[in-house]
Symmetry: D2
């Protein structure tokens, strides 16, 4: 049984709100349920209700949503979970990311490829790079992430298993990315507007195959047994996902 220890992360839920905190023995949490002293939690198991507080071990999604510091619009779990598997990331995969942002996808990719894998990520903006670096240092679990503070113009690795591009104009970087992928490698992109879908699709006409465009919608429900119904409001748009795979036309002669 895993017990709460000093320096570990906990998720606190009180009256439907979530807080992600690190256990420091001399500090406390002050919420609507009164004072919660962290030293009282040390040595107790995760998954406990104390007064109005529910204390859980954070999941990867909790980390992304409540721990990572955001300096950019992040790719949300509903998309990053899908992207990681749709790109077929598995133990040992090497994936290239262009546009680290706040490292939210970087963090998920790091888990998807595991300690034997590799995530190489480029971020041009120094401020975002520094924030991403700190996020990965504080919350990353595996030592498999390489962050670069530069525009992606090429790199040492030549046979990435997959790539993900999250920059404003993915069509400008696509060809450079393609050059560092192995044959058949899946490529993912996220764009907020339909105009950008159109621009990307033009670039994919040659050298790519199995192109797909989609969006993912999550509809949440209230959790009252006698009144099963969707929440009144939902997130209606985060981004359009574009997927393709590297393809080479070979002569049949």
């Amino acid at each position: 049984m895993k017990l709460i220890e000093e320096n570990q992360l906990i998720l606190i839920i009180c009256r439907g709100r979530k807080y992600l905190k690190r256990i420091t023995p001399d500090q406390s949490f002050h919420g609507k349920g009164g004072m919660l002293r962290y030293c009282d939690l040390i040595g107790k198991p995760y998954g406990i209700r104390i007064g109005e507080y529910d204390i859980f071990e954070p999941t990867m999604e909790d980390i992304v949503m409540y721990a990572l510091k955001r300096e950019t619009q992040i790719v949300f779990p509903k998309e990053s979970f899908y992207i990681a598997f749709h790109l077929s990331l598995k133990k040992g995969s090497k994936v290239l990311e262009v546009g680290t942002g706040s490292a939210a996808t970087t963090y998920i990719f790091s888990h998807a490829v595991g300690p034997e894998g590799l995530v190489v990520s480029y971020e041009q903006e120094e401020r975002h790079f520094r924030n991403a670096k700190r996020n990965i240092e504080r919350f990353g679990e595996w030592d498999n992430v390489e962050l670069h503070n530069e525009e992606f113009t090429g790199c040492a690795v030549d046979d990435f298993d997959a790539a993900f591009i999250d920059v404003r104009e993915p069509w400008t970087v696509l060809e450079k990315v393609r050059g560092h992928l192995k044959g058949s490698a899946p490529i993912g992109m996220i764009v907020p507007t339909a105009n950008q879908i159109s621009e990307v699709l033009k670039e994919l006409e040659t050298g790519y195959g199995d192109t797909e465009v989609l969006e993912i919608l999550i509809r949440k429900y209230k959790t009252v047994a006698e009144r099963v119904r969707p929440n009144d409001r939902m997130i209606a748009h985060t981004g359009y996902l574009v997927f393709t795979r590297k393809l080479e036309t070979v002569s049949t002669a």
Copy 2:
């Protein structure tokens, strides 16, 4: 560069349709693009267009969709990708599954936990169990899956990191599952009807926290740059997902 070899799997796309095949040197694929001899592919890289055929290395999603033999309604990738990460499965996790079905989620979970992890899955129906076993033997990549052909009434492992239940009446098995989870462990369930959501929620009133109900919708778009628009039809319902976490009320005295 990875080359196509005997006995490997390939994904063939022709005129928008997908076929997943295993390379056997003396056989051929006969589709609308004419005959494609497998022996001509051996030694070539993945990611090639030959005539009307695009040949790719299958992704995990391709395996689930086009390789696994289905004897049951499967949990589709749009849900299983989300479930695996939402349950916080990572390299080394141990996960319990009740209701193996055709092993589609089992296969995804196996990849999520990696070779150091463990997936223990129960299937009561012998016919489904045998099909699931064959699917995992033929397509599984890691030796980390334990399949049981019996009703789940308990098991040797006591501290699973997470659980997933896919049976008709998940509320009947929930308490037994809970007993084999470590504190805070996330539990996922999938049910097709709103009536079942209601039944599950009643069972979750005590001993569980952070309960969520949601559904995932994927909307696909046509891939013509000049005419960006959704497909005419979409899959509107596969199942409702219910998530919760094991919670113990502790006395504060």
Copy 3:
């Protein structure tokens, strides 16, 4: 050309917000665009931009959304527009409504059936009845609405063309409503929860046909030509609509 006159309604839009006002010569509108004197508008046409203010003639939807005083959750236009036509309301139709609420559907029905038609509506709650009455008196255009402040237990009209029920437990009133409809008459209901759908469906097993359950979702987009994309958030649920038609089994002997 219709000109703005004293006592008429105008819709003012300023910085994306909408206001519905009645022209009284000695008053003014004070918004973020500065003071707008109503006397300056009199004699001008509708559809004019004055400074930051856009002045339009209110549509029926504007009346429902911004003029009717709400004492209850109203049925929104996206549903009431559909209901009115799906119930096949047309010039001269007679429709029965049980549950007037704030008279938002009553108002739409009144327009759908026109001056030769009839809307008979029942509201048990005196407070809601009084509010509904005032709404219809102030904003109704045709003298074709009969409001009753009582529980519906029957009425003088025996051959309504259609009915709409918006009460918490529509199944308790359904049989009484049915008795006052002509054969084949469509009946509509709105319920917020899936549990209620289930209850209604049980009641519809005998004496009704062509039953349908559906929900209507409206997804709005930003209106920037260079950045076509859905709004970030949307209304995800207002209610489930249940439709059926009165059916009598006749002997074929």
Copy 4:
């Protein structure tokens, strides 16, 4: 009580399928429920079940869906119902339509404006015009529709209350339409692609206000009380709706 008579329309439902027929005494319907002789129906009320056949009086929606002959992609009721009310069509309104198509919206508009109203509709394509004409002659209820077999380049009426445009490039005709509308008049358009939304929005920058872009989704549910759940598949896209209103900038001097 309305009885079935010779030459009237009936809706037949058998095993979930719908058929719209006209009563001719010497004919019969042959479906999966056996032979149904129309002469046996004459004199009976609407809303009856005879064997496996449910016989209803057709609603306006039934007419649009099952009676109108389609030579073009029609605007479906889920959109046309919304459009008619969103354009604030009411008894006596005059509405201009550009692009009659199969007259499905024309038919709905005709009912919305009633016999005192007017629908003026233009269709360039002779084949579509002839089909639309026949549809209106056979199924229209009011003598309030004027069909023109020509490109819209202007017309005699100068103060339409509203307009609807359903042609491939609505931006090319928008200005001409605007010239025939009264101030503040709402204008609706339907376009299948996001690229077209972008083109329309560019044209709306001057001379229009209160612009909106939206799409309407209908999700249907199975009608089994014990298993409340959405249908497996749904129509995911018919068209994007663009609405705006005529606006004149006036000097405040």
